[in-house]
Symmetry: C2
Subunit: 348 residues, 2 copies
């Protein structure tokens, strides 16, 4: 796989054609796994860490031998490339900026990525467009089964899978859905949503995962507890909670469009006008405006703009993507200019 | 003259092709005159006021008998039409909203308007595109000469023309130039300009004359003193002062474009993007954005937009113009929607 591939294509989750795609951007399921015959990374020295990486990489190549699957080693990878993997949601921020031997295996439609030596020895992640809890779960579960044939996982009969951080012990599973809730935000209903989710033990994060605050009306909600619950428990809770949030957001969109159609149209078209004409634009403003565009497309206000174009702009306007596209390092000011140019060219 | 004419055409001063049009929107010269055989309006009862109107109207029709010249009586005119004359800069706000018998004579390219029974019995006003002090003065002076053949003005050999308000005694002349100073505003240099003008005894007002604060980087500067100075004194002072302000504004435009070309381009193109796509827009925001567009056209950044289109939008997006175009009364919210629609259609 060449780096150019990342710039020519986009992951399946960016296609924007998944079920309930008006509100759910993507579904993600990740499993944390550790090997029984190696110490946790928290206590492993560089040499052990290197051995783990080498060993897991070998098993990954046996389990996924096709050309469709690529293994990338991160330790000697330039920062800009690691950052691109993060912007692509294929590795965590910690994995991108971290140190020591580590890597990631990725399939070509980016529905599956397996991080090696992140916080745990293995982090398996499946991701899909829209609300696809079952399909996404099956994707990561299959990969897990394939690997389990070749690896001995640290597993405790009572506690379940053992993990570096106690919050992940049990199933080691985290299910996340990225929700686009512009109507709830515009109508100042988000506090209500956030309180309800907190009471139900769900964590809410921003677009770029842990430690990021919400921008562009995008909220990533995920289960907190992994201990004492089966994978199916976690999924079936999600199956109940997410539709409630969808219903809420949709009713507020309906209300907005009914009560203040001009206000909504205006917000959407102004966002379009700025994106289509600005000569310099920050990453944050881009996300805010794309959020309005996304709403507009789903409300049928911007019929000439395909959803995939909007979703791709969310990803391709990030710093590393822009620099890879330009083929050179750019300071923040230059990036703002290149970003504006890129958007003008790509937005129909 | 039908009202439709006002919506089909625009005044000469809106053509935007006058000298120094990059900074000077228009030049205006007005003369205040009163009749010797009637009392000032401040002490005239309605009957006298009516006699004055009738008398002056007769002399106006003798002096300007062509079809090119029209006399409009304001007392029984609907408010929206009076407001349109004000938006057109053909009558003052006071004349539009006032009471009692009064009128205005207007020629077809709107370079000359003569208000009857405003503050004084007569207010003659000539207006032209760009910086045209001499031509504008000649326009109003010729009209004054024509009228003086038929009217006996209140004139005192020592004080000059007598006026209702002592500030106008003498020549009764006020020369105003409407300046567009966006670079001075962006570069936070306006305080300096305003202080200098105040020291030189010039008054600075907003787009819509007396009592309005500057919007859209538009500043109307005019002479304060009329007593003890000849018409030529006032004009020759203007001839010295205005070019200094032009030089200042131009040097800041040059500096802006040199130091921060992206910032200027971005400001101009964002304004264009919003005007071209908004679905509802206030009058004030429109003026601010048109101001950026005007700068862009003169800096050569928006080559496909003719100056006349921008100047016309300044006038045609005002409340009465919009309502006359739509042919019905509109509340402010409806106007904002119609305004946005009108701009999208008219802006190339």
């Amino acid at each position: 796989m060449k780096w150019d591939d990342f710039l020519q294509r986009s992951g399946e989750w960016l296609k924007g054609n998944g079920p309930d795609g008006d509100v759910v951007v993507s579904t993600r399921v990740r499993l944390a796994r550790n090997l029984s015959r190696f110490p946790f990374l928290t206590v492993a020295n560089p040499e052990t860490r290197s051995q783990i990486e080498q060993y897991v990489r070998g098993r990954l190549q046996e389990a996924f031998p096709t050309r469709d699957f690529q293994y990338l080693s991160l330790m000697r990878m330039p920062m800009i490339d690691r950052q691109l993997l993060f912007e692509r949601h294929l590795v965590s921020r910690e994995h991108a900026v971290g140190e020591g031997e580590r890597g990631v295996a990725i399939n070509s439609d980016e529905t599956l990525s397996i991080m090696v030596n992140e916080e745990d020895h293995l982090r398996l992640q499946a991701m899909r467009s829209g609300l696809q809890l079952d399909l996404t779960w099956e994707g990561v579960d299959q990969a897990d089964t394939e690997l389990e044939k070749r690896l001995s996982y640290a597993f405790h009969p009572r506690f379940g899978y053992l993990t570096a951080c106690p919050t992940n012990v049990g199933t080691g599973m985290r299910v996340s859905v990225m929700l686009h809730l512009p109507a709830a935000v515009i109508s100042k209903q988000m506090d209500k949503v956030l309180q309800t989710l907190a009471r139900l033990n769900y964590t809410v994060r921003g677009l770029n995962g842990e430690g990021t605050s919400p921008v562009g009306d995008l909220f990533q909600i995920s289960n907190q507890a992994t201990l004492g619950k089966s994978e199916q428990d976690i999924l079936s809770e999600m199956r109940k909670v997410v539709p409630e949030v969808l219903k809420f957001e949709r009713s507020w969109r309906h209300k907005l469009l009914h009560d203040e159609p001009r206000k909504v149209e205006d917000k959407v078209w102004r966002a379009y006008g700025i994106l289509k004409h600005a000569r310099t634009i920050s990453s944050e403003e881009t996300i805010e405006l794309l959020s309005a565009l996304r709403l507009g497309v789903h409300l049928g206000l911007l019929s000439h703009v395909p959803m995939a174009a909007v979703n791709e702009l969310f990803v391709f306007t990030q710093p590393s993507h822009l620099q890879k596209i330009e083929g050179k390092a750019l300071d923040p000011e230059q990036r703002d200019v290149v970003r504006a140019e890129f958007i003008r060219k790509r937005l129909p």
